[in-house]
Point group: C2
């Protein structure tokens, strides 16, 4: 069975020219198949401010009105995606930038959550893994922006973590998947103030203990729950760690591994 | 030999919601292989004004500084490209949005013109026709934004007419190509004030006559010269006409045909 890495990076890497370049070099040197999923960065926030697009929140979640959808499609699907693609091309990787609309690779639906209207925010329905797999077989490396579509002509703003997770799950019957979430810390920390306190392994046995002890808290809870869901769906391994340590995460020497 | 349509649309269609939708429906109903190339529109100019990005011109040509490159990559490669892709998906066309950097389909170099520095403006070197052909064979319809790359990590702003022309030429040995430039008029007009004065046919025989008579003048001269160059390079047919008349242009009942 083929090995496939699905790697997600966020704003902390995208916004740092030098770190991004180092990460993309490390990414380029992976000899197995890989898909890169990226989130946004400061540019979207900066532009929203300059263009005076108000940021509306409902229960801590951003509402994607039409102006915000335009903005994120421009920034994520345009500038960030194409910058990464061009950079990877220069490193010998035949990168192909995609939103979910391109080649219909990710279909989603407008989020409906009780009375709340999150605007053009999309929840993933389906990933076209066979076509993504063909791209990989052809030597192309998909670089996926966090924008999807509903198949009826509407673009939707979709969480990049969710996209990475959905792609990983969709491939689980075709390849041995290692899903890697890069974020700003060394891994899931036992003590949030101590970067050396990385918990090397989380599984369904110690998960509840760690939640009870407060080591897994706040925004980390849904992250780990999604990771466990991916494992349950057949993903071989999920890791969380620092983009700078990509190769160490791959070899199991850095980050938190969820299985 | 396969038939392939390479069709270019510009701002006059992109900026008009209804006309764009009608055009995309007509485009969708073409049963042969097709590639769509799009230019920009008002949004780029509007955003440049709102963000106070100064527009510098040298000898009538826009200079692409870094801020302008960001802007056009966001608007052309992001919003316009993905809006068209999502719209085509809803019409049953498996559209794949591409800049020249994606899958390395169009390599260019930074324009050097004597002493003048046009910034990040790119002139096309090479189109990866074999890979575009594979996409077409796979049932995908490329939608190409006027952004290229130099292979060394640099994105470049490239004229959409030139991109359409380069793609058509690159395919000329593989398919019977009909290159169609859509613009705001019915065709090349004998009398600029009379939409009924379309010159149905231009060839190397009557071209110089038409230039001498003033019927082909100004910005139309390089357009026709490029069309003739495409024919010389093996493109079967080049047409210029109104996007609204796409099917009439295809059947030779509207627009100007250059051969």
């Amino acid at each position: 069975m083929d090995k496939l890495y699905v790697i997600k990076i966020g704003g902390n890497i995208i916004d740092d020219e030098e770190k991004l370049d180092q990460f993309l070099s490390a990414f380029s040197s992976i000899s197995e198949k890989r898909i890169l999923v990226h989130g946004g960065g400061k540019l979207a926030t900066e532009l929203a401010q300059k263009l005076a697009i108000p940021q509306q929140m409902i229960q801590g979640r951003r509402v994607t009105d039409l102006e915000t959808l335009k903005l994120v499609t421009m920034v994520y699907g345009g500038w960030i995606n194409k910058t990464i693609v061009a950079r990877l091309q220069s490193k010998g990787v035949n990168a192909l930038g995609l939103t979910g609309a391109d080649a219909g690779i990710i279909k989603a639906h407008k989020r409906i959550a009780g009375e709340a209207d999150y605007g053009f925010a999309g929840d993933v329905d389906e990933v076209n893994a066979p076509l993504l797999f063909e791209f990989l077989e052809r030597g192309l490396t998909p670089v996926v922006a966090p924008i999807t579509h509903d198949g009826r002509g509407q673009l939707l703003n979709t969480n990049a973590d969710t996209i990475a997770n959905s792609i990983a799950q969709a491939f689980s019957s075709r390849a041995e998947i290692h899903l890697i979430y890069c974020f700003e810390k060394e891994g899931v920390l036992g003590n949030i103030h101590d970067e050396a306190s990385v918990i090397p392994q989380i599984n369904s046995d110690n998960y509840h203990q760690l939640v009870d002890a407060g080591a897994i808290a706040g925004g980390m809870i849904p992250k780990i729950q999604n990771a466990i869901a991916a494992i349950d769906a057949g993903v071989s391994q999920v890791s969380i760690g620092k983009a700078e340590n990509l190769h160490l995460i791959i070899s199991g020497k850095s980050g938190t591994s969820i299985s």
